[in-house]
């Protein structure tokens, strides 16, 4: 078996999630190659060559791949696919965007968001917002798979893979990049943080999210949010944790003013330790919390900050 893993990156940094997707590939077993598709991404190729368990790094460095447009990347991956039994990517917005296109071009169905590998054709994935766990066998000849990184432990990075430049350019010419609005933060990314503190509708407004800052500073935490807090415009969309936002599993997750709807729980209930601060003792979040504090968050947060 040979497995092609798409390296998740933004042309400046190889995302740590890739190390977890490679771990999923190792669980399947076989020769593993990483694909780096981007522009001016030589540094990514170098970083990718250090990923343990990878024998080759294929680099497609071209302006057509700069923004990893689904139309262009899917053509590239589909052309490469002939040599592989499994094509894998991390289930983040880039992989979710282009991978089903690859699957369709190969006439296979995609196995999305796997959290465990049973064998080379059988995988475990959550369905119904994580309220059920399905074991699914793929009957297709080639497997196209996206991997939920919270299901796997990162591989180490002291490897030494061969780097091979690809000169293929696949530009579908039907889509183009216009602009982006990136959230800039000094804090760790939600997917990589070992501590996360999230605020919900109970925070009342965006200004009050500052109450989380001091605590996040002391704990080295990332800051997340519920859908309600994002919808209300308190914080940007990339902070949403949940079934249809980011899936996280840190060592410590602190939910503040979040009721605990199933869609929110779907994104965080695999956290090692969960703390809930809510003034409503009946809030469902307390059913998944290891430590619950029934309190007004406007009293609790300043006190917590001062006592850490």
């Amino acid at each position: 078996m040979s497995i092609l893993v798409f390296a998740e990156h933004d042309n400046s940094e190889l995302k740590a999630d890739t190390l977890k997707t490679v771990a999923a590939a190792q669980a399947i077993g076989g020769d593993i190659h990483l694909l780096v598709a981007g522009h001016n991404c030589q540094a990514i190729a170098e970083a990718a060559s250090k990923v343990n368990g990878v024998s080759k790094v294929l680099v497609a460095d071209n302006a057509a791949y700069e923004h990893q447009l689904a139309e262009n990347v899917s053509l590239l991956v589909t052309e490469l696919a002939a040599d592989y039994s499994h094509i894998m990517a991390t289930a983040l917005t880039t992989g979710k965007n282009f991978m089903p296109r690859v699957a369709a071009l190969l006439d296979v169905t995609q196995i999305s968001d796997i959290i465990a590998v049973e064998s080379s054709d059988t995988f475990v994935r959550p369905i119904y917002a994580g309220n059920a766990i399905a074991t699914v066998q793929s009957l297709d000849s080639k497997k196209v798979i996206t991997v939920r990184s919270t299901g796997f432990d990162a591989v180490a990075t002291d490897g030494n893979a061969e780097i091979i430049a690809l000169d293929k350019v696949t530009d579908a010419g039907i889509s183009s990049y216009v602009s982006e609005q990136l959230s800039v933060s000094e804090r760790p990314e939600l997917g990589a943080a070992s501590v996360i503190i999230s605020g919900g509708r109970g925070m009342q407004n965006g200004e009050n999210f500052k109450l989380l800052d001091g605590i996040a500073d002391k704990l080295g935490a990332a800051i997340g949010a519920s859908r309600a807090a994002v919808d209300a415009g308190f914080v940007p969309n990339d902070m949403q944790v949940g079934q249809t936002g980011k899936i996280v599993a840190p060592d410590l997750y602190i939910a503040v003013g979040i009721s605990g709807a199933i869609q929110h729980l779907a994104g965080m209930k695999d956290s090692k330790v969960i703390v809930a601060i809510n003034k409503d003792a009946e809030a469902p979040i307390f059913q998944v919390a290891d430590y619950g504090l029934v309190a007004d968050l406007f009293d609790a947060l300043p006190e917590l900050e001062s006592k850490l």
Partner: protein, 250 residues
């Protein structure tokens, strides 16, 4: 221009699903069903394009047994002009759903197809992208804003790092994210009117597509239960527990 909106009948989002005792699947007997929330957002967006004078006709399509006509009627009540049901009793893999939709795209020639980014039952997040690939269309997934600009559509997408805007050549596929719009409630007169709007039924078997299953569902189990936690009485107690019991802070 015509806008096609594929929709799916799914469990109501407020319902917590249970797994069958024999672990063969989830138990949907007597469970409240509804239009998938992301599909509802897709219908709303199409109807708004029609109200803005950009779309000329909004066609809703659903694949399923007779019960999905209920969701097609919902789409009609929200403002879709006509509906197509592709009848099947099977639960199809996404690739086969996309192939059936491809046939409808070939028949109807829409300039824009708007789908939900994922259905809240199988959580696959793939049908829209697959349809785009099969029809050779461009795609704007996870959309939070859509604007038609001549022969292009600009789509702002919710991505991990923030927002990204793309320009897509029409015809194009858009998949909706939560913040694209807030769907309206269907008014009683519109619900009545929807009953008289055209709804045609076509058999999935008549499309000449091999719909053989690509996956085999081996088992479905409930998720691991978290062990019951405790209520702490004070911040002091919380900090003490996190330090000494859970050992997650120092």
């Amino acid at each position: 221009m015509k806008v096609l909106v594929p929709i799916k009948r799914v469990i109501d989002y407020n319902v917590k699903v249970r797994v069958k005792a024999d672990n063969s699947n989830v138990d949907l007997a007597n469970v409240k069903m509804a239009i998938n929330p992301f599909c509802e957002i897709a219908v709303e967006e199409a109807v708004r394009l029609k109200e803005a004078g950009i779309a000329t006709e909004v066609i809703a399509v659903s694949i399923g047994n007779k019960s999905c006509q209920e969701q097609l009627r919902t789409a009609l009540a929200l403002g879709a002009d006509r509906a197509i049901q592709i009848e099947t009793d099977e639960s199809l893999d996404s690739i086969n759903v996309a192939k059936l939709l491809q046939k409808i795209v070939e028949e109807e020639q829409p300039q824009l197809v708007i789908l939900g980014k994922q259905s809240i039952d199988s959580d696959n997040n793939q049908t829209g992208q697959m349809l785009a690939a099969l029809t050779g269309m461009s795609q704007g997934t996870f959309a939070s804003a859509v604007s038609i600009d001549g022969d292009k559509v600009n789509v702002t997408r919710e991505v991990d790092s923030g927002l990204q805007t793309l320009a897509l050549t029409l015809p194009a596929i858009v998949t909706t994210d939560l913040r694209l719009n807030e769907p309206r409630y269907a008014s009683l007169p519109n619900i009545m009117k929807a009953k008289r709007k055209p709804l045609v039924v076509k058999a999935a078997a008549d499309f000449g597509i091999d719909l053989t299953a690509r996956t085999n569902l081996i088992k479905v189990t409930p998720p691991a239960e978290r062990k019951a936690g405790i209520i702490v009485e004070s911040i002091d107690e919380l900090v003490e527990k996190l330090k000494n019991e859970a050992k997650v802070i120092s």
